[in-house]
Symmetry: C2
Subunit: 211 residues, 2 copies
C-alpha cells in the first residue's frame, strides 16, 4: 500500500511546533490585552515580547480580531470544560454544585486573563464570533440551570426560578475574573471557598424572610 495519503515524514513534528507557536502567540497576546486592553495593545508589542516581528504573527493568525476571538473562545471553553468535568461526577445536586463552583472558580482564577479579556472586550469581537461565543456561554448557563432544577426537584434547593438563579451564580463566578488580583488581600483558595459558601447560601434553604 503506497503512502500517498500519509503526509511527509516530518509533518507531525512540524505541526506540533506550529501549534506551540500559535499557543505562545496567544499567551502573550492575552497577557497584553489583559494589561492594556485590546485596542491599546499593538501587535508589534505582542511580537516584541516573543522576540519576533509582526508578520510572524500574521502567518499564524488571520488578523488581530482573529486573535481576540481565540482568546475569548479559550476563556469560555475552559470554563465550560470545568463545568462539564464536575458534572460527570455522581452525587446529589448539592454535592455536584459544590464541585462545579470549586472547579470553575479555580479554573477562572488560573486562567483569569482569558476570561477577563472576554468579559471586557466582548464588544470588539466580530459579530459572527460574538454569536458563537455567546452560544457557548448560554450553554454554560443552561447546564447550571439544569443542575439547579434537579436540586430543586429533589427538594435540596430552595429557589424560585432555576434559570434566573443560574444567571446570578454565573455572574458571581464571572465576577471573580474581573475582581481577583494575584498577590492581593485574599488567596486563591480563600476565594474559591468563599465562592462555594456564597453559592450554597444562595440555593440551600434558610430562614431568610421573603418579600
Amino acid at each position: 500500500m503506497p503512502d500517498t495519503k500519509r503526509p511527509p515524514r516530518s509533518t507531525q513534528l512540524k505541526e506540533e511546533i506550529a501549534a506551540y507557536k500559535r499557543r505562545r502567540i496567544l499567551e502573550e497576546a492575552t497577557d497584553l490585552f489583559f494589561i492594556q486592553g485590546y485596542d491599546c495593545a499593538t501587535l508589534d508589542a505582542v511580537a516584541e515580547r516573543l522576540d519576533v516581528t509582526k508578520p510572524f504573527i500574521y502567518s499564524y493568525y488571520k488578523n488581530k480580531g482573529d486573535l481576540l476571538r481565540e482568546v475569548c473562545q479559550t476563556g469560555i471553553r475552559l470554563s465550560l470544560f470545568a463545568l462539564e468535568g464536575a458534572l460527570v461526577i455522581e452525587g446529589t445536586a448539592t454535592e455536584q454544585l459544590k464541585a462545579v463552583v470549586e472547579r470553575v472558580a479555580r479554573i477562572i482564577i488560573e486562567n483569569q486573563r482569558y476570561i477577563s479579556v472576554y468579559l471586557r472586550e466582548e464588544k470588539n469581537l466580530d459579530p459572527k464570533d460574538a454569536r458563537a461565543i455567546r452560544e457557548m456561554r448560554h450553554h454554560f448557563d443552561e447546564l447550571l440551570s439544569d443542575l439547579l432544577e434537579k436540586g430543586k426537584k429533589a427538594g435540596e434547593f430552595d429557589i424560585a426560578d432555576p434559570s434566573r438563579t443560574a444567571i446570578w451564580v454565573s455572574g458571581l463566578l464571572s465576577w471573580i475574573a474581573l475582581w481577583y488580583r494575584e498577590g492581593g488581600h485574599w488567596s486563591a483558595t480563600e476565594v474559591v471557598m468563599d465562592a462555594i459558601n456564597m453559592v450554597m447560601k444562595m440555593v440551600l434553604p434558610g430562614n431568610a424572610a421573603h418579600g
Copy 2:
C-alpha cells in the same frame, strides 16, 4: 452696597446653559462608549450625535480622557449616593441592607451605561483619575462592610468576614451593570427583587452546611 462682587446680569443663565451642554456631551459620550467601547468611539461621532463639531466638545472638556473620567466618576458617585441615601434611614441592619440593595440596584439599572463603562474601561483612565475613583469605590465597599459588621454584631447576619462578604455583595451589584439588558428577559423590578433576595440569603443565617 455696590454689586461689584455680583457677576454681570446674564452670567447666571449662561452658566446654566454651559452646564447643560456639558451634561449633554457627557450623555452622548457615555452612550457611545457603552455601545462601541472607549477606544472605538470617536469624538467626531459623539459630536455628530449632538449635531455639533469636535471643537465644540473640546471647549467643554479638556480631552477624550477627561470625558472618560467624568463618565466613570458619575457612575461611581451615583452608586455611592444611593448607598449613603439608604443608610440614613433608621432601622435594623437587615432593614438597612435591604434598602441599600434595593436603591443601589435601581440606580445601577437606571444608570447602567455610566457604571458599565467604568467597569470595562477603568484601565483607560489616567492613573491619577483611576486612583481617585478607586478611592470612591473603596469607600463604597467600606460603608457596606460597616453595615455587615453591625448586623453581625447584632446577631442578625451569619457571616464570617464582613469585609470579604462586602466584596461579594458589591460584586453582585456590579454584575447587574454588566449583564442587565433593557427589554431583555427580565424586568428591572424582577432584577432588583432578585438582588435583594440573593444578598439576604448570602448574609442571613440558614441551614447551609459549612465546609
